[in-house]
């Protein structure tokens, strides 16, 4: 059953409203709020009939929302698209490994991703490594907080103060043999015990004890960090093989191609292979990305002649454009136009089918569960001198429990429920997995443990919804926790943010 409301005057349609959509109400024309109310009053009988009839549809409202497989954000597991990179001389044993989100990264002989720890300022001091300086990740046993995050003082005993944890246990240095020789950007840093540690661009390198197999990047990401989230580790990789004038940014959905001012690059379905059909009216909204006269084709990249006579870049045979109406960098606005698409060197693989994509009031889109409730990621780094991650089930859960439930696991489960999965559910994406969790402790459950919950996890961290979110697209727990949820708290799984440069929240 459906009801059509037609507005005789301008201005807004409420077709996005889940209640209208679920009730099968279609709005024609542009309706002002008063017009809408009048229309609803006029059609009250029909409206109520529709609502009653459609009550069962409300819970299925999200079924009409975008599902990941329809989305512009991801690629299928069958896709072979991967980012090409510039090869450079490597020390023996160092290799390049393809990863699902961060593109190619350097790895050691065992395939473990390599990370750097660049120095960064916190509120009360700086931590990390300086380029061409010594490693500050040591074997010192960590007992107390360093007090750099404000407003809390130094000297508080860490949750693992009695467990003899050190920085190097969590971040084993990538050691070089005694006769290792520096090559290209690869240099050698001397550790306090006299051993040599590989460094890249001057930054000492580490592996993460969270990474278990080649391609894992569980110790960090290339997504830029806001600072107050702690001094983070960043995976190190080769430069993308792109012409001058372009950049590749790690986003929440893959490696996004932008120009050197970080404005998005687009392709058009109306073009043919290495041929642009964007002329006349099309050029009012789109500008071909110009290629210089002296450039040459290279790999995925070709120079084509636009009908106007200029040289234009094409990527994987698709001519490239910028969108004249993009008012902010990293935009997805051009992809709202039928037939136009953002460009990635590689996208993340589609999340499990039960997830949905929802418009959010903050101005963008979020990943949501099957009911349309926003998915949240939990972030945590302790305030020790090593800034260790506490955002995964193998770490102390005290931090998370404080924020989600005032220390009470039961309150946590009510406030930030896990997203429960079938125990045998599978994901095409290596970023997603089903994890067995003891909900009382927040840690991994032992095999056969009573009360075990099987939950969806992203990058080996459980994901959550928030009880306070009432409607699809609500994000009332985005920035819920210390320092906007970056230090110890929750952030929405944001796919797109039209207003700010925080599009790819970390």
């Amino acid at each position: 059953m459906s009801l059509v409301l037609e507005c005789s005057t301008r201005r807004f349609k409420k077709s996005k409203s889940p209640a209208f959509r679920a009730a099968g109400i279609t709005l024609l024309g542009l309706c002002s709020p008063l017009n809408l109310r009048k229309l609803v009053r006029m059609n009250l009988t029909n409206f109520l009939t529709v609502v009653v009839t459609s009550a069962s549809m409300l819970s299925a409202a999200s079924a009409e929302s975008e599902v990941p497989s329809d989305s512009k954000y991801w690629q299928s597991a069958a896709s072979t698209e991967q980012e090409a990179y510039l090869e450079e001389k490597l020390p023996p044993g160092i290799q390049v490994v393809a990863t699902a989100l961060d593109g190619p990264v350097y790895a050691d002989a065992q395939g473990r991703t390599l990370y750097k720890w660049p120095v960064s300022a916190l509120r009360n001091g700086s931590l990390g490594d300086r380029a061409f300086g010594p490693s500050n990740c040591t074997e010192e046993v960590l007992r107390t907080e360093v007090g750099f995050m404000s407003p809390y003082p130094a000297g508080l005993l860490l949750p693992y103060a009695d467990e003899s944890v050190s920085c190097v246990q969590a971040w084993p240095p990538v050691l070089a043999s005694a006769d290792a020789v520096e090559v290209g950007k690869w240099s050698l840093a001397e550790r306090a015990d006299g051993t040599k540690q590989w460094a890249y661009d001057g930054f000492p390198l580490y592996a993460s004890n969270l990474d278990k197999k080649p391609g894992d990047v569980l110790g960090g990401t290339k997504i830029s960090s806001g600072g107050d989230g702690g001094v983070v580790r960043v995976p190190v990789g080769p430069l993308p093989d792109i012409p001058p004038g372009f950049k590749v940014l790690t986003s929440s959905t893959g490696r996004l191609l932008v120009n050197d001012e970080e404005y998005s690059i687009y392709t058009w379905d109306g073009d043919e292979a290495n041929t642009s059909n964007c002329v006349q009216e099309c050029l009012h909204s789109w500008t071909p990305v110009r290629a210089p006269q002296i450039a040459a084709d290279n790999g995925d990249w070709a120079i084509i002649k636009h009908p106007s006579g200029i040289n234009q870049w094409a990527f994987r045979t698709k001519p490239l454009y910028t969108h004249n109406y993009d008012t902010r960098s990293r935009s997805f606005a051009g992809s709202d136009v039928q037939g136009w698409h953002n460009v990635y060197t590689q996208r993340a693989v589609t999340p499990p089918a039960e997830f949905t994509v929802q418009d959010a009031d903050f101005g963008g889109q979020v990943l949501a569960d099957s009911r349309g409730k926003t998915v949240y990621l939990y972030n945590c780094r302790d305030d020790s001198v090593a800034q260790l991650a506490c955002d995964h089930p193998d770490a102390a859960q005290d931090y998370r429990l404080a924020i989600c439930g005032n220390g009470d696991p039961e309150v946590c489960r009510e406030t930030f429920p896990y997203i429960v999965a079938d125990a045998d559910a599978q994901s095409d994406s290596s970023l997603w997995s089903v994890m067995a969790i003891n909900p009382n402790t927040g840690r991994r459950a032992e095999a056969g443990e009573e009360g075990t919950l099987h939950v969806w996890a992203y990058r080996q961290r459980p994901v959550y919804t928030y009880a306070g979110d009432q409607e699809p697209g609500d994000t009332d727990a985005d920035a819920f926790g210390e320092f906007y949820g970056t230090r110890n708290g929750y952030k929405a799984f944001v796919l797109r943010d039209i207003y700010s440069n925080y599009a790819f929240r970390r």
Binding site: L30, D361, F362, Y399, G407, G468, A479, F480, G481, Y499
Partner: protein, 359 residues
């Protein structure tokens, strides 16, 4: 009223000049909406400054006779967990315990002193149509003003006119277009006296139109309506203009963006406007009720414990005051009021509002 950071600082002479210019414009506009700012009887304004407003004309000694609240996050921590002795404190029993209280506040009694603001005068409007014992008078002597928020936060430094929130909330709002809130008055025959106008609220998409200093805002800019993401910010009500002052009928729930870096808004219940209009500016207040839970959620998300420490704010303590002084929207089960009355001082600058069908 509050002195905003942007648009007014160091601009006394400029403001005075603008005032007289505005008077001249208003005087010349008694018959019709002054051009070039009108279009089809419509005039739009975009928000440039906002702050929850505390009347400070009584003086600090009268308003806060016990002194300002001096027990913010940092002070409470220091009192509970002295670090100068031999005792070793754990992260869990100190920092995380306090963060837990902040994110999951409760109404049980606490040992920290908390002072409510005193006095009989507050900015605001009569939201419930009654003149109650705990109501205020506005500075013009009109009784029945509902503004319990002033009692709750009026003696906390961070919220006062020289506190950090007035400064930062406008600063971030200017730079973050998510906060681009607008009103459009339509059906306007006369900007000075018109007994039947329609007021519609929107969220805009664009940056503000500033002068060469970057501190002042210029009339005549354009704002596109955020019709897709900002749908829930669109509300409509009726109003009237009397002697250049716009007042509106209540909007049951008006969503006002209030984000610093990330997301946030207030759902202001029984929302009303009272604005002095000129062709170039609209200045005055909005008033309404805010749910105490939402208030605390927004406070914590916009301003965590580090930022609350700037102005001796403690969300955990403030929540108790909010719930104690809440004066509307009783919980159907407990009967306890859930929302608190208040008012915000706002400044808006004329802008051409571009609707989707006009782009």
């Amino acid at each position: 009223m509050t002195h905003f950071w942007a648009g007014t600082t160091g601009s006394g002479v400029r403001s005075l000049a603008l005032f007289f210019t505005t008077l001249a414009v208003a005087g010349a506009a008694t018959a019709e909406l002054p051009k070039p700012y009108q279009k089809d009887g419509r005039i739009g304004y975009v928000l440039t400054d906002k702050a929850w407003v505390i009347y400070e004309g009584d003086g600090l000694e009268a308003q806060c006779p016990q002194g300002l609240n001096a027990s913010g996050v940092r002070q409470q921590f220091a009192e509970l967990f002295p670090m100068d002795g031999d005792q070793e404190w754990t992260v869990k029993e100190t920092r995380l315990m306090r963060e837990g209280r902040m994110w999951h506040p409760e109404t049980s009694e606490e040992s920290f002193p908390y002072h409510d603001a005193q006095g009989e005068i507050a900015y605001g409007l009569n939201l419930d149509g009654k003149v109650d014992a705990d109501d205020f008078m506005n500075p013009d002597g009109v009784a029945g003003v509902d503004n319990q928020l002033q009692r709750a936060i009026g003696c906390t430094p961070g919220w006062r006119s020289d506190g950090q929130f007035v400064h930062f909330e406008s600063l971030f709002a200017i730079g973050h277009s998510y906060n681009r809130w607008m009103i459009e008055i339509s059906g306007v025959d006369d900007l000075v006296n018109d007994d039947d106008v329609t007021v519609t609220t929107y969220r805009g998409l664009d940056d503000l139109f500033t002068d060469a200093t970057g501190d002042g805002f210029i009339a005549g800019g354009t704002q596109r309506v955020d019709a897709r993401w900002g749908e829930n910010f669109i509300e409509e009500t009726k109003g009237k203009i009397v002697d250049g002052v716009l007042t509106t009928e209540p909007i049951k729930k008006a969503r006002v963006p209030w984000a610093m870096r990330f997301v946030g808004y207030y759902d202001v219940l029984d929302f009303q406007l009272k604005l002095n209009l000129t062709a170039e500016t609209a200045e005055g207040i909005f008033a309404g009720y805010v749910n105490a839970e939402q208030w605390t959620n927004r406070l914590n998300r916009n301003w965590g414990s580090h930022h609350q420490s700037y102005g001796t704010v403690s969300a955990a303590s403030e929540y108790r005051a909010m719930r104690r002084l809440a004066d509307a929207y009783p919980d159907p089960e407990t009967g306890e009021n859930t929302a608190i009355s208040g008012a915000a001082e706002i400044k808006l600058t004329q802008v051409y509002i571009l609707h989707p069908d006009e782009e």
